[in-house]
Symmetry: C2
Subunit: 291 residues, 2 copies
């Protein structure tokens, strides 16, 4: 089986060919410029690849409602040229295979559930902490959708008592993304995340915000695994800090063996698929069309 996959991001489109076991045969990266230019190259890549289905995980917001006239569109993005763009439609004009479409983070969650850190489970969340904060979720074996798709990166968090940074979210200022995504770090401290590696206070603040978000996700979704990826999570010292604060904040309220000092390192984890979670997730989406 040859399955096509696209991880459509605001910076680059990663395209690949894989099989039903998540093995990737080939992948390329195409810069995200204008839709004409980028999608032209994407279509060129897939044209003679003899794929039988395609999965797309896309940056958003996207329209996932199959009854909607704008199903398959990237909708109200602030990204120039891409608002109200018919991503699935344009690709299907040129590549005549069925397409499964979801958010980039839902795809990554699905990839991790199929072949990664959450393999064998029926629920997990995947959180990326990068240019933005996005979260995808599987509950009861299904990708989580509803009125729209979740936008968990923007939940409200309590400030760290010493933190006076106003927050960088254009909609909510000091929501989670506004306080803890890469650009918020850079704006608050005047340096890029990678340059702040040795500054303990930076990671204490960061764990304060991310652990709060995880606590709320645990209380609301009760996932069986929490997978944390994205550029900022390359700072591995964050993991133990976050795990400790999650337990401290829950304070024994939710009783489960996973939520103990012994086992939490197996519950809040880095991606099993590394930087391939999104692409593999798109392959997993494509695979659902073949069953």
């Amino acid at each position: 089986m040859r399955l096509g996959a696209i991880e459509a991001g605001g910076t680059k489109f990663i395209c690949g060919i894989g099989d039903e076991n998540g093995v990737v045969f080939e992948r390329i990266s195409i810069p995200t410029t204008t839709p004409e230019e980028t999608i032209g190259q994407v279509v060129g890549f897939f044209r003679d690849k003899e794929i039988s289905a395609m999965g797309i995980g896309s940056f958003g917001p996207v329209d996932l409602d199959k009854n909607s006239e704008t199903y398959g569109y990237i909708t109200s993005t602030p990204k120039p040229h891409w608002a109200q763009y018919d991503l699935v439609g344009e690709i299907q004009k040129h590549i005549h295979v069925p397409v499964a479409f979801d958010t980039d983070v839902n795809a990554a969650a699905f990839g991790e559930l199929e072949w990664g850190a959450a393999k064998g489970l029926d629920s997990c969340i995947y959180m990326t902490v990068g240019t933005g904060i996005g979260v995808g979720a599987i509950t009861e074996s299904r990708l989580l959708h509803g009125l729209t798709h979740p936008e968990m990166g923007h939940i409200l968090v309590r400030r760290h008592p010493e933190d006076h940074f106003e927050g960088s979210c254009p909609y909510h200022k000091d929501c989670l993304e506004g306080m803890a995504a890469g650009p918020a770090l850079e704006k608050r401290w005047g340096q890029k995340g990678i340059e702040l590696a040795g500054n303990e206070k930076v990671w204490e603040y960061q764990a304060h915000y991310l652990s709060q978000a995880l606590v709320n996700y645990i209380l609301i979704l009760s996932p069986k695994k929490m997978v944390l990826g994205g550029g900022v999570m390359k700072q591995e010292q964050l993991f133990p800090l976050i795990r400790k604060k999650v337990l401290d904040t829950l304070n024994g309220y939710v009783q489960h063996p996973q939520l103990t000092e012994e086992n939490i390192q197996d519950f809040i984890v880095p991606p099993g698929l590394g930087d391939n979670a999104g692409l593999c997730g798109a392959i997993a989406l494509a695979k659902t069309l073949q069953q």
Copy 2:
């Protein structure tokens, strides 16, 4: 079809007989005292009722994992006599029918989806603001479960800037339940909720906390309807206050026709089944066993 239903609460057990359309033929209320006494009366009520299945929505925490040895138990409740009590097992010793078991609020959400305010949809949440704050959810047509069942009443919220009440949750002090359940109101203001009806500040604070929680539920679960019940929500002036604050806080970030000034009164609503949401939900649970 004659279906048995129990809404098992910390104050009373409501037992009823209904049919596959949610019509209730008969109901009684039994005080929650000791398990022997209460369950004795419950069993007595159902004994000659010729039901073919039973649904139970229970106060918690409960064990919903069918692979667990303590499936069907009320687990770590602080309520005297009821911790580690095998509710489903004890009932099935005497009433020999299949039993569907879930949390009280999941049952209520299911009732509202089958026959109430969320009829025809595939997702909703049901929130009760009473002695505690509990929330049940249906996502993608399924009752939401995971590692455990959700405990959304305990999410972290930001304080109202003028509110110095320390919070009444024994685990988290100033979590949502600790700031906004009935006992928190009573402790903060020195009067019962019903006596505070005319005090505007009370309901402004209350809307501050409840709207924050709803915003987080919208961002995380994206439900198609939010149903708010329980004693405190009898203060109907809360609904418009909450709706307005939800829109103000989202600030246009999630674009959907339901999330507009025009339509939000159709999105955040009181229970369509009134005080029968829990009992009807238990009937709906029983019905799933007959299909």
